[in-house]
């Protein structure tokens, strides 16, 4: 009896949570090709992608070490997905998540968010 009540309560909470999520803030659209793998598991990437990019950028600009798996151009080549860009609309990979967590995304004020860089970055 108690187990059944707990299950019902959990179900109700879940429903409420989803309903709230749908009504208040749209969930990010993370459309990724699951057949390929990123440079680190998703939970690591979610927390540390900005650190990886920051570390990378100084080596690239000041020392000229370009290309490699952690290059922004490589990120874009996968994550631009079928939208054709990592930014530019609410469904684009980078922008949809950054909109959701309300963190300003300023990489693409200078960097090109459309793929095509990998062929020329190395």
């Amino acid at each position: 009896m108690r187990a059944a009540m707990r299950a019902a309560l959990a179900a109700a909470l879940c429903l409420a949570a989803t309903a709230a999520a749908q009504t208040r803030v749209p969930m990010p659209v993370l459309e990724v090709d699951r057949n390929t793998s990123c440079v680190a598991p998703p939970d690591v990437m979610r927390r540390t992608h900005m650190d990886l990019l920051m570390h990378r950028r100084d080596r690239t600009v000041h020392q000229g070490v370009r290309g490699g798996d952690e290059a922004l151009a490589r990120c874009i080549s996968c994550h631009a997905g079928s939208k054709g860009a990592a930014i530019g609309n609410r469904d684009a990979f980078c922008q949809s998540c950054h909109d959701y967590v309300a963190v300003k995304l300023d990489c693409f004020e200078c960097h090109q968010g459309r793929p095509g860089a990998v062929a020329t970055s190395r």
């Binding site: 950028r57 080596r59 600009v61 000041h62 020392q63 000229g64 070490v65 370009r66 290309g67 490699g68 151009a73 874009i76 004020e109 200078c110 960097h111 090109q112 459309r114 095509g116 860089a117 020329t120 970055s121 190395r122």
Partner: protein
């Protein structure tokens, strides 16, 4: 002719066993080659140290240009156009549009002699833009290329004031059509990068040098005595613009 040369070789190497002769000749040839190409204190190993793709820029090289003003044609702007294409510059003619190379046309009043030359960032060894930058965004790479780190540039434009060559431009408007390998954006100062993205992937030419129809622009390593640019600098008279400032520019001009 053949018989003569064979006879000479025969007299120079009377050793009956051919194997040591060939080894000795090889060593002698290698030593002669090395001696001809390398300055005192510089070894072949060091010269081969220009960074390969994926390696940090090396201070053993100093990239530069030699521009022959005699070969630069009047009215030709191929280098400017190639630079715009390579780096995704808009190439407009409004006062706010950026330019990384500008074509300067001069005329000597007394004789009427006309002279044209492209002027870009001179990649000084002692760059005034780096001295005045308040954030450290303006910097000189180990291989002598002077760049702006746009991540730290606040757009104050002190460097534009400090540059005696007026080589730098400010981006006034938002951009959307940047080339992937040349990130650029509103609010930053920028200038010629010596096509640093090409150099870092191992290419040994710039867009302007490649596009010049008269080959008036030579790109190369000033620190390598065997490079074409060093050879030409040894052979022809060349000058640095505003040499009195003693900035030791990486871009040199001949025929001024």
């Amino acid at each position: 002719m053949n018989a003569q040369s064979v006879a000479r070789e025969g007299s120079a190497a009377p050793d009956p066993d051919p194997a040591p002769v060939s080894r000795r000749r090889l060593l002698a040839a290698a030593a002669a080659l090395g001696g001809a190409a390398i300055a005192p204190g510089v070894t072949l190993v060091e010269i081969a140290r220009a960074a390969k793709p994926g390696e940090p820029a090396s201070s053993k090289v100093r990239w530069g240009l030699l521009i022959d003003a005699n070969l630069c044609r009047e009215g030709c702007k191929e280098c400017v156009l190639a630079c715009n294409r390579e780096n995704g510059l808009e190439g407009g003619s409004r006062p706010v549009d950026v330019q990384w190379i500008r074509k300067v046309e001069l005329k000597e009043r007394s004789t009427g002699r006309k002279l044209g030359l492209p002027v870009m960032c001179q990649h000084c060894a002692e760059p005034p833009c780096v001295d005045v930058c308040p954030t450290g965004a303006s910097f000189k790479r180990a291989d002598g290329i002077v760049l702006v780190d746009r991540h730290t540039c606040i757009g104050c434009r002190y460097c534009m004031m400090a540059c005696p060559y007026k080589a730098r431009s400010f981006v006034h408007e938002p951009l959307t059509k940047q080339k992937p390998e040349v990130p650029r954006g509103k609010g930053c100062v920028e200038s010629c990068t010596l096509c640093v993205h090409r150099i870092d992937r191992g290419e040994r030419t710039t867009a302007c040098a490649e596009a010049c129809p008269t080959k008036a622009i030579v790109f190369g390593d000033l620190a390598d005595p065997g490079s074409e640019i060093s050879r030409r600098l040894r052979e022809v008279e060349s000058r640095q613009l505003r040499a009195d400032l003693r900035l030791e520019t990486g871009v040199r001009y001949s025929g001024l």
